[in-house]
């Protein structure tokens, strides 16, 4: 329980008051952050040990793994749009998000009960993915609806920082348990289940389902209204900008592969790359969110996107020293801190109250499709013209995407300000 206390302490307004303007975050956002933190501890504990568990306890060949996991990603994207609209339509964001968190918690229980076959583990991973797909859009809508319009980026920053604290702690707790009880994967699953249950309990008991900006009157939105978001003069430009930026951004997984080709790592160092990026993200998410609310979300988001140029630059170097590597990872963390949450905050500001979850669901789906296109294109370019040329093409594409996104995002923001 130490970790929950610690994360609460981290968010005490007093701690931040000395350094900058007071960090005032709505209680609902902190509670949703806590839900995500606990759920991420639970999920990452399992994700960390699942490969070893399958091989070690079930005798599975590592080749089975791709098959177990890869197939469900597409399904999750479609679920996001559906759950977003459904929660707007029923005006039950909390309940729909709860269904998603509940499914993942059930998955952990199932892992204890029926996780001793490879097929069983596959089914459980699928349920977990679907649960994640269901909860994301309504949860982000709740964060948005709980926050004042001029504090959205701060709220998302706080949520994302708490979320990443959980993602960092999960593996540590899992390794800690296995250090105390070698090869006892069941103990990891039991503790993971308890974290999932705690997360769900915080959601049910402490999260307000009808926060201040939540619509209470008027007819519930129809599907046509959600579909017309694609033509909305405020939301559509944002969607186009987000698509362009996601297509021109090389995914972090590919960046790590590229770094690995360039640098002769001690293999034991490799996991530290992820850790360093995550720490950078965790440290920057809140201040960057506050900055975005103060000086404007669009410039912060664009500056964050531009940090990718540093990462691309390091990938272009023929020999990378540790200093360049650290700079690259810090920039990668900064890029994440200044883009995903800030973009969602922008969406929250331009979307009508009644269609928050629908719009955010559409945004997430479009961005994940953009990332898929980006990964396929980067892989094809790497094969055709080599890593360095592929990076140069993506750097050019990123410059174009930023040039395209700037007027679109500014227009969306202005339109939002006009109401």
């Amino acid at each position: 329980m130490y970790q929950v206390e610690a994360s609460k302490a981290l968010l005490k307004p007093r701690l931040w008051a000395r350094r900058s303007t007071r960090l005032r975050v709505p209680r609902n956002v902190v509670m949703l952050g806590l839900v995500s933190l606990l759920t991420d501890v639970s999920a990452e504990m399992v994700a960390t040990v699942l490969p070893m568990y399958l091989v070690f306890s079930l005798g599975a060949s590592p080749l089975v793994f791709g098959a177990i996991d890869g197939t469900y990603r597409g399904a999750a994207a479609l679920v996001q749009v559906a759950s977003g609209f459904t929660s707007d339509r029923w005006r039950r964001h909390k309940e729909v998000a709860g269904l998603g968190y509940g499914l993942s918690a059930l998955g952990k229980v199932a892992l204890l009960a029926a996780g001793n076959t490879i097929g069983g583990v596959g089914a459980i991973v699928a349920v977990d993915r679907v649960g994640k797909g269901i909860r994301t859009a309504p949860r982000d809508a709740l964060i948005s609806l709980s926050s004042a319009r001029d504090k959205l980026a701060t709220s998302f920053g706080v949520h994302r920082a708490m979320d990443s604290v959980g993602a960092m702690m999960g593996p540590l707790i899992a390794f800690g348990i296995l250090f105390l009880a070698p090869a006892r994967f069941d103990a990891v699953f039991v503790v993971s289940t308890l974290f999932a249950v705690l997360g769900l309990a915080v959601l049910v008991l402490n999260v307000e389902g009808k926060p201040r900006r939540a619509p209470r009157e008027g007819a519930p939105p129809r599907l046509r209204a959600a579909a017309s978001l694609l033509r909305d003069r405020r939301f559509a430009p944002l969607l186009v900008a987000a698509t362009g930026l996601s297509v021109a951004s090389v995914s972090d997984a590919l960046i790590y592969v590229g770094l690995q080709r360039t640098i002769d790592f001690d293999p034991a160092v490799f996991p530290l790359l992820y850790v360093m990026t995550a720490i950078s993200f965790m440290a920057l998410a809140i201040p960057v969110g506050q900055l975005a609310d103060r000086v404007g979300r669009v410039p912060v988001l664009l500056a964050g996107q531009a940090l990718l140029f540093v990462v691309y630059g390091v990938l272009l170097m023929t020999s990378v020293g540790y200093l360049a590597l650290v700079a690259c990872l810090l920039c990668l963390g900064g890029y994440f801190a200044a883009t995903e949450g800030v973009m969602t905050a922008l969406a929250g500001a331009v979307l009508p109250e009644g269609l928050q979850a629908s719009g955010i669901g559409i945004l997430i789906t479009v961005v994940s499709l953009g990332r898929l296109v980006s990964s396929v294109a980067f892989g094809a370019l790497w094969f055709a013209i080599g890593l360095h040329s592929a990076v140069l093409v993506f750097a050019t594409a990123l410059a174009l995407a930023i040039a395209l996104a700037t007027p679109l995002l500014l227009r969306a923001q202005r339109a939002a300000a006009d109401g």
């Binding site: 040990v49 490969p51 306890s57 348990i177 070698p182 090869a183 590919l254 892989g379």
Partner: protein
């Protein structure tokens, strides 16, 4: 708040319970000899068939007798040549892996942390170079952190230091540079007559290329498609390998003649996922994950059970 207390008590209690209970990473299983021809000796790693991923002891089977050779070695994968060996296995925590380099006395001299699951190990016939392949998660492109890719390292067996990683070697195919994001390498085999020269598998875009490489020049050249886990014969003229059955994860063992690049299957008809080993100029040994078998390399005869409850066979010559 009460719920938090209950969860802490339950979770803490279970971890303590688990910590006090059994949770070993090494099995006490020992192999038993099957029909081993006289004049031959094989080193194997013991396996508990019900828990094949536990580390097993290293044994030598000779003249129908099984002898445990070391109290200090427990592995998932072992290889040995000319007084130098590699032992890859799970670390005591059960989530980490280690490799150790050992000498003639089978005592570990150097060890290193592995960031993935042990897959293949080889040592050159002169004991100079070693090679290890591991499965790693987390950097497979287009897929999730639980998808796997491979990494293959070259070692200096004297110092135990890594001297190269195939992912960073320059690759050429049909005279032109060849590169792709999904390059994976596995299964090195060293030329018994020239330890600088080796073969390995390059997996990319659904193909599994046989590549020929040089340790010193850090270069690889694509030879042909459809060859996994190559293993050079003692004369360096033939390669035993896994031939994949049409896009499945099932394989037949084949032998390739390097002069003609033609290949033929051996008499083993089951799917085998192992890097075969040459017992002598005419015989292959391999494991199905539970037992070690031998089969003639020329495609005739039939498989015979060599050692029961053992994997990772190493032919001990001289």
């Amino acid at each position: 708040m009460a719920l938090v207390v209950v969860c802490v008590l339950l979770g803490g209690g279970y971890v303590v319970y688990a910590a006090l209970g059994p949770g070993e990473t090494t099995t006490d299983a020992s192999p038993s000899a099957g029909r081993l021809p006289s004049e031959t000796a094989v080193m194997v790693r013991a396996v508990d068939p019900s828990r094949p991923a536990l580390n097993g002891g290293v044994f030598v089977v000779e003249n129908g007798k099984v002898r445990r050779r070391s109290e200090n070695l427990a592995c998932e994968r072992v290889y040995y040549a000319a007084g130098h060996g590699i032992c890859m296995g799970v670390a005591p925590s059960g989530v980490d892996y280690t490799a150790s380099v050992f000498g003639e006395d089978l005592v570990p001299q150097h060890s290193m942390r592995l960031t993935g699951l042990p897959s293949r190990a080889r040592v050159s016939a002169d004991g100079r170079y070693g090679a290890m392949t591991i499965f790693v998660s987390g950097d497979a492109y287009l897929s999730s952190p639980t998808a796997f890719s491979t990494r293959t390292y070259l070692l200096d067996m004297e110092s135990g230091e890594r001297i190269g990683q195939l992912e960073q070697f320059e690759v050429r195919k049909d005279g032109a540079p060849f590169d792709a994001v999904d390059f994976n390498f596995w299964g090195i085999t060293f030329d018994p007559t020239d330890s600088d020269r080796f073969y390995a598998t390059l997996g990319t875009g659904g193909h599994h290329y046989l590549v020929e490489g040089s340790v010193r020049r850090r270069r690889l050249q694509v030879v042909r498609d459809g060859v996994e886990c190559p293993s050079l014969s003692p004369d360096g003229k033939r390669i035993a390998f896994k031939s994949r059955i049409d896009g499945t994860n099932r394989w037949r063992l084949h032998v390739l003649d390097l002069a003609t690049l033609a290949d033929h299957p051996v008499a083993e008809e089951r799917s085998i996922d192992d890097q075969a080993e040459w017992l002598d100029a005419d015989t292959l040994v391999y494991s199905d994950g539970i037992n070690v078998y031998a089969v003639p390399a020329d495609g005739g005869g039939e498989p015979s059970l060599l050692v029961r409850d053992a994997t990772s066979p190493v032919g001990l010559r001289n």
